[in-house]
């Protein structure tokens, strides 16, 4: 509303400036909420500053995880017009492989690398043996991916049983760090700081680095150029002499590899158990529907919205928290069916 008001009231303000002012105001309020000492009435409304700030931070780190999974999903869709419903299984396979490698070698980083590489390989194999045969047959591809996900889920249940695994993170990632955010002062004048698990900050950092890396890959390299061209018009790309199959294989490798990577990283932050595949598939579906199919930036925005909605919902209205995620999806579909950053299909 404030944007509209400004537009009609102040003559010289454009729509863009209006949005800018709104964003600045929002940022200022958030900064105040995070850094200021809360008055009592605010504590009464929002439970406590600790709860509020933690839910924001958790939302952002969870968004990082969702982004890792959804970016691969959205890439594959954007290029191949193929909704890979086995994407969640790739996440879970990656997590189990990361668990096994970490357990056998004792090096967590090796587990992470194995999660990425093995899944990238599986991605290529899937593309060459399954999807290439069904090219252009979207419905059949989608059905085949559902089949693969069901078979994979049962195979994993057979191999790793239904137990809950925790991938052990190394010592240097353990423990909590003190954030320079003060929640209150004790009676003796000492400030009470917020403690936050260090590992989660690392997850967030990794997600940002990978996001930037993907953006650079897509926008600054030759392969990226081909991928973008393929997203826009793959027939034309093929006609101009590019080996489309190779591009498809690369995209699938990156997508599957990222899912496997996210599996290990996520399995260390949370846990690995049957059912995770469906959960992450659903999360990435919602993320790309909100963010726009085929857009990396869209995946980032979608992940941020969904991650924050989930965590804030969990703290402030746990019973109906899940609904919030879907409300966001429904509103997006109603206002902008192609998603926030999506191109109309």
């Amino acid at each position: 509303m404030s944007v509209l008001d400004q537009q009609t009231a102040g003559a010289g303000i454009t729509k863009r400036q209006g949005w800018g002012i709104a964003a600045l105001l929002f940022a200022a309020v958030m900064a105040w909420l995070i850094f200021a000492i809360w008055p009592d009435w605010l504590n009464d409304i929002l439970i406590s500053k600790k709860a509020f700030v933690s839910s924001i931070f958790n939302g952002i780190t969870l968004a990082g995880l969702y982004f890792l999974v959804a970016s691969g999903f959205t890439l594959v869709f954007g290029l191949m017009r193929n909704v890979n419903l086995a994407h969640g299984s790739l996440y879970l396979v990656g997590a189990y492989i990361g668990y096994e490698v970490t357990r056998l070698t004792g090096y967590w980083l090796l587990g992470v690398a194995a999660g990425f590489l093995v899944l990238a390989l599986i991605g290529v194999v899937l593309q060459v043996t399954v999807f290439r045969r069904l090219e252009g047959d979207d419905l059949r591809q989608t059905l085949v991916t559902i089949g693969i996900s069901i078979v994979a889920a049962d195979l994993m249940l057979w191999m790793w049983t239904g137990a809950t695994y925790q991938i052990t993170t190394p010592e240097w990632l353990d423990g909590a760090v003190k954030l320079p955010i003060i929640t209150a002062f004790r009676s003796n004048g000492d400030a009470v700081y917020i403690n936050y698990p260090f590992y989660r900050l690392v997850v967030l950092g990794v997600a940002i680095v990978i996001g930037i890396g993907l953006w650079l890959l897509l926008n600054k390299t030759r392969v990226g150029m081909m991928i973008r061209a393929g997203v826009d018009d793959r027939a034309m790309l093929a006609a101009s002499g590019v080996n489309v199959h190779a591009v498809f294989a690369i995209v699938f490798a990156i997508g599957a590899g990222l899912a496997g990577f996210a599996g290990v990283v996520g399995g260390s932050a949370l846990s690995v158990a049957p059912g995770e595949d469906v959960r992450y598939l659903l999360a990435s579906l919602v993320v790309v529907i909100v963010g726009g199919m085929g857009s990396i930036t869209g995946a980032a925005i979608g992940a941020l919205l969904i991650g924050l909605a989930e965590q804030i919902g969990l703290v402030y209205f746990p019973t109906y928290g899940i609904v919030l995620t879907f409300v966001i999806m429904v509103v997006t579909l109603a206002i902008r069916p192609q998603g926030i950053m999506g191109k109309s299909l």
């Binding site: 939302g59 239904g162 909590a176 698990p197 846990s271 049957p274 969990l314 746990p318 899940i322």
Partner: protein, 414 residues
């Protein structure tokens, strides 16, 4: 043509797989076993199945002179999946005796379904919501495994008097079984004088608890946690990661073997956690020890049976004992069989079990504390046995019913 041949092959395979169940001899009896073999409670369901198998093997696979034929039904802990699975067992497989389900809401859903199938007898697995048997029970639903409030017998008083906790926050899943557990804990704890200023209800299958942990008030003496399976592991691990300092009090399935035996760093925060439930790992009666020995022979068994193995064992055992009594005859719509069940009173690895008028068990409860065994595994050390706890927790029935049905808000003592 190609497709045709494939379809034919598929059809042939499908009929081949179902055919054996059609060719049944008369001297077998079908026993449906419903448990969670999928979803967040998979481990729990698998252990329940071990318990059921134990009871069946003990009887050499025979009940009332007939060979037991097991038909498995799988749910994912949601009530609709349980009803779907039990309908398949009853309406397609023609099962007359069902053991299950495993989890709280499923129990209520199956009880409601039981009312539409008066000729089929339903014996609980481990579902432990109070209202499965307390309010509006079904004539043909039996529970030999007690409910979640009974399981908490002695814990509230112990936490207040022995541990000295005056102010406790609760974190539990948002469905009928944890409501029942919190009710059982608070019934005693609040009566003793304790307060519960904050209750967090989280959706089942939630992964990320750090926000929930952050929202727990800083000034509580302890946190009562009633989360099961993967949910419990996630909470405990993240509580450790977040540097949680308040001691914990465990619901019956929070510090159960399904959680204690999982791999990870959460061990540090659970040692010393008091809890209560229908079993105690370090129970040293010969009956229990024999049960543990037999249990360990089951494939992939835990170091010690979980309460799911225990519950399914007792309920399956009850089914077999009653079937023995009626000679395996359920041809009268199971009338004689149900009569035998109602009168059944038998000795289990955890003491005597009998039913009340709502067909809910009266049994011994165990107050425990998590400790590390000599072999490095975590166990629930027996602290105290509370003998023969009934569903109204020793309170006269009228008075107990007046407390109201369990829910998010009931009971309350902020």
């Amino acid at each position: 043509m190609h497709i045709h041949r494939r379809t034919l092959l598929a059809l042939a395979l499908a009929t081949g797989l179902t055919a054996p169940s059609l060719a049944l001899a008369e001297d077998t009896i079908k026993l449906g076993i419903l448990a969670t073999f999928e979803g967040a409670f998979t481990v729990l369901g698998e252990d329940g199945m071990r318990g059921a198998m134990l009871a069946i093997e003990e009887a050499n696979g025979m009940a009332g002179g007939k060979k037991i034929e097991i038909v498995k039904g799988s749910s994912d802990a949601s009530p609709d999946s349980a009803v779907r699975a039990v309908r398949k067992l009853v309406e397609q497989d023609g099962v007359k005796v069902v053991v299950g389900p495993l989890s709280g809401d499923e129990g209520i859903a199956v009880k409601d379904y039981a009312k539409t199938q008066p000729d089929v007898t339903f014996i609980n697995g481990t579902s432990a919501a109070q209202d499965t048997t307390l309010r509006d029970p079904a004539e043909n639903f039996f529970r030999f495994s007690t409910d979640g409030a009974q399981w908490m017998a002695g814990l509230g008083t112990y936490a207040f008097n022995e541990k000295g906790y005056k102010k406790v926050a609760t974190v539990a899943e948002d469905y009928s079984f944890p409501y029942t557990q919190v009710f059982g804990f608070m019934a005693e704890f609040c009566k003793a004088g304790g307060t519960v200023p904050s209750k967090s209800w989280v959706p089942i299958g939630n992964k990320d608890y750090s926000s929930v942990i952050a929202a727990i008030p800083d000034d509580v003496d302890a946190i009562y946690v009633a989360l099961g399976g993967a949910d419990g592991v996630n909470f405990l691990t993240q509580y450790q990661q977040a540097g949680g300092e308040a001691p914990l009090i465990g619901g019956s399935i929070t510090v159960d073997q399904t959680v204690l035996s999982s791999k990870g760093k959460m061990r540090d925060v659970v040692i010393g956690t008091p809890s209560a439930g229908p079993i105690a790992d370090t129970n040293d009666t010969p009956e229990w020890l024999a049960f543990v020995e037999a249990y360990k022979k089951q494939p992939d068994a835990f170091p010690s049976p979980s309460l799911f193995a225990h519950g399914y064992y007792i309920n399956t055992k009850a089914a077999i004992l009653a079937l023995d009594e009626v000679g395996g005859d359920v041809s009268d719509g199971g009338k004689k069989f149900r009569e035998a069940l109602s009168k059944l009173s038998f000795d289990t690895p955890t003491g005597k079990v009998s039913l009340d008028k709502n067909r809910n068990a009266v049994a011994d409860m165990y107050l425990t504390e998590v400790s590390e065994g000599a072999d490095g595994n975590l166990y629930n050390k027996l602290v105290k046995v509370v003998s023969q706890v009934n569903q109204t927790l020793g309170i006269p029935e009228e008075e107990f019913l007046a407390l109201g049905a369990v829910s998010r808000e009931n009971p309350s003592c902020p």
